[in-house]
Symmetry: C3
């Protein structure tokens, strides 16, 4: 009975982990199948003047009307942030990191929240060695948004693809957790 019961749960769990994109399956099928697919979470803790020990990100640029400690008004337009965030396999900030998400983002619209991202997933474990490089627009108000996988090194040599981002959680303007569903369509 226990075994019979746990089987469907496992299936549901797998589906959740494999598909954080919430994209209808029919839409995915229109595209070719990915040659590799991976789901990760990363955790961004923005420096706010009081959390220098835990912060993994800091504002490094702002428009003339802002500063670099507090995100500015006008939907943070012009704030540029540099980050070095832990990557985990599940949504728990305290899980053992499997790599680091390193890069930058900036808010780029006055009327709503939108951002633009350039970053890498850097792996150096027995599981994965190498990096995956990403770039693209991130219209934060959309439930999911796609950025490009523009290249990779090591285990991810020359790869290309799409990464679907979803904001999994946030707390105030300090903690942001992103789920990243990486679908690679060029594998070498």
């Amino acid at each position: 009975m226990g075994g019979a019961k746990s089987f469907p749960s496992l299936v549901i769990l797998l589906v959740l982990v494999l598909d954080c994109s919430a994209t209808p399956i029919s839409k995915i099928r229109a595209h070719p199948q990915p040659c590799k697919r991976m789901v990760f979470y990363f955790h961004d803790i923005l420096y706010n003047g009081h959390n220098s020990k835990n912060a993994t990100a800091a504002i490094v640029g702002s428009p003339a009307w802002g500063n670099r400690t507090i995100l500015t008004g006008k939907n943070h337009f012009g704030n540029m942030v540099v980050f070095d965030d832990p990557i985990t396999l599940d949504n728990n900030l305290h899980s053992t990191p499997v790599g680091r998400a390193q890069g930058f983002y900036f808010y780029d619209k006055k009327d709503i929240f939108t951002a633009w991202l350039g970053f890498s997933f850097v792996f150096n474990s027995t599981e994965h060695k190498g990096s995956i490089n990403f770039a693209g627009a991130d219209p934060l108000m959309n439930k999911t948004r796609d950025v490009s996988v523009i290249g990779g090194t090591g285990d991810f040599f020359m790869t290309r693809g799409i990464a679907t981002l979803r904001t999994d959680a946030f707390e105030g303007e300090v903690y942001f957790r992103l789920c990243v569903d990486i679908k690679l369509y060029e594998c070498w």
Copy 2:
């Protein structure tokens, strides 16, 4: 007579719209034919301390000797700008936008004007849904300059190519209009 006269005008208009690159045709022919080609304009209105309502871009970084309200001397070396610009089909700032150009550029040379660009064209209309991602050097003093199309999403899934930029107009150091001739050579 009217019809006969308008025909060549239409041809000229089409040529102008299809080829804002001003590249000799012989040079284009040396390359393979694009699988898709599109021409757009985008309009950058830089915040200067007095135009916060209309501005679509703001200086967010500057070298130690500059500030973030006025572009610095030394050919703006080190000024970093974040933008969210309307994209139009013709060169009229007031035409209905068909998308947004979102990203950043910075001036990177002391002796002449050169810049570097990372940005996306973001479309969400009946015509186009998805994004095209660009990166590359922009030697502004050249009549035309090429940047890379490094990826795309949605209708532009996995695309790659070249975008030829041409400064179509500028007014002082506030308004810049760019013509972008996008030639995609990898279409999925």
Copy 3:
């Protein structure tokens, strides 16, 4: 005798010039052969408040706790630098430049030195015309590190590949010399 002696030296020199990556050959062989391979050096002279004439780079962003004249503590976390550096064929800063390395980097980790790079090699000589665009994480403490070649224009139309970076020399926190071993795997 002179000729017999100089031959092996030439071979050694060629090996040094062709392979600044110091990667074991066996590892390279696991990958396909590059369709093009080039080795260059570039020279970054960071503005420090006293060298405005010679500087080729300047800090343009910093976290709230830093400034834009001196690299901050915490391993320069959050410092963003814009550069326009000469590219040379050998490791001599005073050799005739063959192009310019233009782009930006930022330091992105609090506990050790790591950076992230977006830049282009811009060539306009009889030898090469066009640009090569790069992006990726740069874990500076590693002897060599790979970034992605995400595109190219002109002679490097649509190219993709890997660039192996090695810090060839540095002086204080002002002069940095990088050796770049460019291996292109997609040539058009």
